[in-house]
Subunit: 163 residues, 2 copies
DNA sequence: CAGATATCGTTGATATTGTCAATAGTTTCG
DNA sequence: CGAAACTATTGACAATATCAACGATATCTG
């Protein structure tokens, strides 16, 4: 069915107590590994849910950004999603060929393309969002609302580091 | 330099208040997206740190698992890391060709290969672990010890769902 | 202002990773 | 025993990542 990428990396097992018996040296306690595995699961669920609409997490994220008032350029999209600019080209190409977004050269900087969702794009984004939301709900159903909020706040610190 | 994968997916922006002004519709508040972005950052840092030792997050994770007393089979490794079994074949091939791990057919089930680190593998794992640890430290330095512990606990719930 | 320097999007080449079906060897189950 | 299920492996193919080079702008510096 669906699978996913995972990339992990461990940590010391110093504080011996946290490990059940004397089992694995690290991975299960490792933040980076857990991050990777949780992401893989979340991503798989999201992709599965979005497939109905001909989207993947990637293209969905781009589409959603283009519905924003901020009118991001391709470079900004690339930075935000941590993608190579050339990958954004492909993603926008695809969405554009389906009539979901448009490229408009930024009047303020004619090198840059501002990507903006069409009406069709906005409509699709809306329904896709609902699918994504319920897929997420499944993945995160083991967490209480409070826990979700805490998790979101902590992840935001990692995802958008200060210095 | 390094870049990384990202895959994201958003959420409703219902609770209007959480958004600064009237900016982005969702992504910054979306758990799945934050998970993806945080993972991308963590992964990039880990890969960079491990490159010194000729490892990536992937191969490092496999190597580390093989230092475990649990003596995982390739199938178990694949499941744990959420990889296709064929990818584990490649990873183990590589590590084995470098003399870091060995394949031993499980006496209890001669279909299965138990993968176990050699002495050299254990040594490398030890030093690589130190590199990974300090890379992680950089990524997570914005979190207090308490926050890290909380985050770990919450992520574990997502990474290893109950039912 | 001119020329050097940097940036944005794009293309294309290349490597890495993901996905899937098919297979031989084993085990398990009826 | 024979059928069905499972393990590792291979190979083919699709998707993604990575990087260098380019034309079109913009910005900077003297």
């Amino acid at each position: 069915m669906d699978s996913a990428i995972i990339d992990a990396m461990p940590k010391p097992a110093d504080t011996v107590a946290s490990n059940g018996g004397s089992r694995a040296p690290a991975l299960t306690d490792d933040l980076s590994f857990l991050l990777a595995r949780a992401n893989a699961i979340s991503l798989a669920a999201g992709n599965a849910a979005l497939a109905t609409h001909g989207l993947k997490a990637r293209s969905y994220a781009v589409l959603l950004l283009t519905t924003d008032d901020a009118r991001p350029s391709q470079r900004e999209i690339a930075e935000f999603l941590r993608l190579d600019p050339s990958q954004v080209v492909s993603l926008v190409d695809d969405l554009q060929s389906r009539g979901l977004v448009e490229r408009r050269t930024d009047p303020a900087d004619r090198r840059a393309n501002v990507v903006v969702a069409t009406d069709a794009g906005r409509q699709l984004a809306a329904v896709a969002r609902e699918s994504a939301r319920s897929a997420e709900e499944q993945v995160h159903r083991q967490l209480t609302p409070n826990e979700r909020q805490t998790l979101t706040a902590l992840l935001r610190i990692l995802a958008f580091p200060e210095p």
